[in-house]
Amino acid sequence: MPSTPDIQKLRQLCVELRQTVLRMIAKAGSGHPGGSLSMVELLVGLYWHALRHDSKRPDWPQRDLFFLSKGHGCPILYAVLAFCGYFPKEELMTLRRYPTRLQGHPERGSVPGIEISSGSLGQGLSMANGVALADRLDGRLRRIYCLMGDGEIQEGQVWEAAMTSHHHRLDSVCAIIDANQLQQNGPVKSIQDIEPLADKWRAFGWHAIEIDGHDLKAVLSAYDEAATIQGRPQVIIARTVKGKGVSFMELNPAWHGVAPKPDELDRALKELQQAGIHSS
């Protein structure tokens, strides 16, 4: 965990991760690019700043935990884990193809660093609560982060779990909502409106922090703020753009679960490269 993160370096890292994810999904021929691209900064902020972890000791009992509840976003998690050294980067290109360890939705323990299986939406927060309750019994001090999609929180289990986190005052639990505005069949707003998000979580007893999820500085300080909150769980509501960084994917529902074709991949990679140059 760098004490003073070099934002410029992290930004460059985000570009490389986005490019990697697109290459992975293009090679696989299927996958969910939009929901991976929207949470790049959120994961970079975690793995290069907030999360206490060590890729050389993936089973370290005192490590913080990251649960990806929106399992379809796993390409970016795989990429992040490989960049952190949990497994070889070359393996990323095996995504979704038998006999890969990198399934289309993550399987716990398939590669070091994947802490839970997910893919059936709405289940991660309950598991995070369970770990937090066990940690409290055992006097283990660590944080458990659980990232969900905005469409995902339409699942009723999420709100059952939200009540449990609050009832048991699980302040080691930090939920992250990748509010990228779209779900499979269109805008979240038109399919089943979930707003006002922050008010809802506050009404459930949570400490809510609302940020621009692509603003790295805001992401880092949201994690810092959340870690200081005692006596209640925290939620970071990250306003993001599905498909972020690729103009023709941004906020386009068609890119929820489609792989880019070779020419589309080329265009996307070039766009990201250009943007990366301009930002540094």
């Binding site: 997910s118 598991m127 770990v131 309750l133 066990a134 283990r140 289990q157 009540m163």
Partner: protein, 324 residues
């Protein structure tokens, strides 16, 4: 001996585990009194978690506790803890192969007056199809206690199906118990009756009745429906040549189906199935319901007579000496 419900055995077993296994914790969806986990809750309040009437979250929370090294027992009515939660049991518990124990009280028709919505009649089928899941239906209070204690040291997901109604005590404190090892409750070589739960008592009564007609029925208590005790069941099929199964559960996908899957591929013999037809339960006194749904000893007797009519004569004529 006094009849007792199997849920009491679960409560007693859990209480004992509280003492012997510091990592055992319990959860309930506001039914800990019914499921008898309340005894554990009173003794170990810090290790008991109520999640409210929210079974899906309960299973997910149990999975999280197991991820962090605990041995959680999640309990509720059998219908709710398996039905509402099938997806959570599938992904969070079974796919991750976590050490979560599920206790379903009020299984079967013997819930009685509460009626169809609370009467779990399909859950053995649901649980049996989940990879990694072990499925246990104890026959009496003592076996329920032993099964509860045994599953704490049996890694992986386990489903325990328990009953609300008092049932006869068929086993003794001294009887050994092993998950996956069926018990021959009565010897016999003419036909085998394989039961689970309260139907084991009915099978024994049926066997007594059949003995008066000079039919010696072997009665097997198949308390573990998954994994099946292949050896004991195959030997019984080979030695008796005809099988009747008996369960307080739909005929689709439960004990009878499991036994048929085994025998048809390895040693096919004529079979008959006693269980609930493809229908829901209803309100009533448990003993009346068992009669209405044809789960009584006499129903097992008539199924046995039927199967003996189609049992190949060659086998019948090679029957070994009758047991006295």
């Amino acid at each position: 001996m006094e009849n007792k419900p199997t849920r009491d055995g679960f409560g007693e077993g859990l209480l004992e585990l509280g003492q012997t296994h510091p990592n055992v914790v319990a959860l309930s969806g506001d039914l800990e009194d019914s499921a008898r986990a309340v005894w554990f809750k009173q003794r170990y309040p810090d290790r008991f978690f109520s999640v409210g009437i929210a079974e899906q979250d309960m299973i997910g929370t149990a999975a999280g506790l197991a991820l962090a090294g605990k041995i959680p027992f999640a309990c509720s009515f059998s219908q709710f803890v398996t039905g509402k939660t099938l997806e959570q049991l599938r992904m969070a518990v079974c796919y991750q192969n976590l050490n979560v124990k599920i206790a379903g009280s009020h299984g079967g028709l013997s819930v009685g007056a509460d009626g169809a919505t609370a009467e779990a009649l399909e859950e053995l089928a649901h649980m049996r199809t989940l990879p990694h899941m072990t499925v246990i239906v104890p026959c009496d209070v003592l076996e329920a206690k032993k099964a509860t204690i045994a599953c704490a040291d049996y890694p992986g997901p386990v489903f325990l199906r328990l009953g609300r109604s008092p049932v006869p005590i068929l086993t003794t404190e001294q009887d050994s118990y092993r998950i996956g090892q069926a018990t021959v409750m009565r010897p016999g070589d003419d036909v085998t009756i394989i039961g689970c739960g309260l139907m084991v008592a009915h099978a024994l009564q049926a066997a007594q009745q059949l003995a008066q007609e000079d039919i010696q029925a072997r009665v097997i208590n198949c308390h573990t429906i998954k994994p099946l005790d292949v050896q004991t069941l195959l030997r019984a099929a080979k030695e008796t040549g005809a099988v009747v199964t008996a369960e307080e559960h739909t005929l689709l996908g439960g004990l009878g189906s499991a036994v048929a899957e085994l025998l048809t591929q390895n040693h096919p013999v004529p079979m008959r199935f006693v269980g609930v037809q493809d229908r829901f339960g209803t309100s009533g006194d448990p003993s009346d319901l068992l009669r209405v749904f044809h789960l009584m000893p006499e129903d097992i007797v008539s199924a046995t007579r039927q199967v003996l009519q189609v049992k190949p004569a060659t086998l019948s004529s090679r029957q070994p000496a009758k047991h006295s």
